[in-house]
Symmetry: C2
Subunit: 308 residues, 2 copies
């Protein structure tokens, strides 16, 4: 059976002239490494959930993206992170919202999925719970990236809440995510983010919301979204792709294109998503913004990494 | 044009023999009062959003239900509330999660909708933000109901997380919600809850999640759910009703029945939902549990209030 994986590092304006060759290479390398980490699991006959968790851990570790290390700052100067993972096999899901000082928020989300009767835990109490279950604590310093702080200071000075790649500067800083289909026909999705730069510290976006930023169901597909989170939430973007496949008979490419190019714009939403077809393992990576850091890798070793 | 409104006060076991006549009357009176509060807005040509907000405020004030005054206690003995409101006209939505000491969480959710660029704010920082925008603060004592505390002490002693009406005792204690269609053809939904008794204090359920516990879209319907929140989240129950109408051509009754009686049970979910058809104003009130506190009122003054 065929297996495949796709990853993203956020969608946004991403102007070519503003991205240095060194930064671009750093982003491409991180996407490649994430794909390989997930692919190793899949090639060994492993589970789609573990594949997406490993891929997202690599992207959380990469300071070039806005998740884990390198996450952006909320309006109060803290780092507040959201993450979610969903298994298509049983639609079990786990998520954390507005959490601080966790090394790998996506692992924390998986601990919610596996060790609690709940789907979503938020705030400081959530941190305590997942750390008790084995999540790795870290310091604010370990997540800190100087460029991200400088970006926050600019956003705050300009009094605006900035989407990942909205600011015309040289830094990639996107939400990260992964979707995979394993050799057993199961799919999974995982998404992790620091949210919007200069956001209200209480804000929870689409990333940890099942059906909005993250969705997986073996009956249809797995989806991880990135972009204007509030628009994703208001149309349940990720579950919408699934519903269009199941109920309207669209294939993955048509369903994702309709959500990204027709429906999201009606809500003023820019962004993109990555999706994998549960039946065929086919990948779709549409976006309606200037660019989206993205990549995919399939059973045959076909590697695709792109930004614009 | 026809207008209509429906409300609920939670679904669950609700054994007849355990509910005293006095309590039953108290619940029925609160549902009736909520319907009238919303209907007054609708009859005057008012907006569906304001109608559901007023109805839910009445239910939040009623100590007999698990929202606002009378909310249940989390495992740490605090009251943590979730609420959401959505307008079908523009799919604007606002929600709060895990908030304390707010007199009317549903008004706080509406302030998120109207005064922030966000959809969901959580925790203590959310409280600060909505209070700054005009939400009414209250003390823990003002939300406190002795019977609810006794129930919590029992749930904690038995080491279990209790769904609204799972415990075989004499107290109604359900999530509350309202859906309405106004004379202009707009629909809205609002839901408010204290969540599960003895829940983890970080837990956020389906109530404040757009598409899970709360959904409104003038193209299809408005929905407010109650019951096992995690199951609602894992199938995006409220948006699912909408998708079944829009994409599969089901009418409101068939779409709600399919979600409640076929799809939720596959995820082990018990509960129910109230829904109003945006086109016809028709109401559906299905549940798969022992009972659901519910009521509806239409243009012609047809009043329906029931528990079993």
């Amino acid at each position: 059976m065929t297996h495949s994986i796709a990853v993203h590092g956020g969608a946004g304006l991403i102007r070519r002239h503003a991205l240095s060759p060194a930064r671009e290479q750093e982003a491409r390398d991180a996407l490649h490494e994430a794909l390989q980490a997930g692919d190793r699991v899949l090639a060994a006959g492993g589970d789609a959930v573990e594949a997406v968790l490993r891929a997202v851990c690599v992207l959380e570790d990469a300071p070039v993206f806005n998740a884990g290390r390198g996450a952006v700052f909320a309006a109060d100067g803290t780092i507040r992170m959201d993450a979610a993972v969903m298994s298509g096999a049983d639609r079990s899901a786990g998520a954390v919202g507005a959490v601080q000082r966790l090394r790998h928020p996506i692992r924390a989300a998986d601990l919610v999925r596996r060790t609690t009767p709940h789907v979503l835990l938020v705030g400081a109490d959530a941190e305590e719970r997942v750390v008790a279950a084995g999540a790795e604590r870290c310091t604010d310093e370990e997540l800190f990236v100087q460029e991200r702080w400088d970006h926050f200071v600019r956003a705050r000075a300009e009094g605006r809440v900035a989407l990942d790649h909205d600011l015309d500067d040289a830094e990639p800083k996107g939400t990260v995510g992964a979707v995979a289909r394993d050799a057993h026909g199961h799919v999974a999705a995982a998404t992790s983010t620091g949210g919007l730069a200069n956001k209200h510290p209480a804000r929870v976006g689409d990333t940890p919301i099942v059906g909005a930023g993250t969705w997986a169901w073996d009956h249809t597909c797995a989806v991880s979204a990135t972009g204007h989170g509030e628009a994703m939430m208001r149309c349940c973007a990720a579950a919408r792709v699934s519903a269009l496949m199941e109920l309207a008979g669209l294939d993955l490419a048509a369903a994702t294109a309709r959500v990204v190019h027709e429906e999201l714009p009606l809500l003023g939403g820019t962004g993109g998503l990555i999706a994998v077809d549960a039946r065929t393992g086919r990948i779709a990576l549409p976006f309606n913004s200037g660019g989206m850091y993205r990549g995919s890798l399939d059973t045959e070793g076909n590697l695709h990494i792109a930004i614009w």
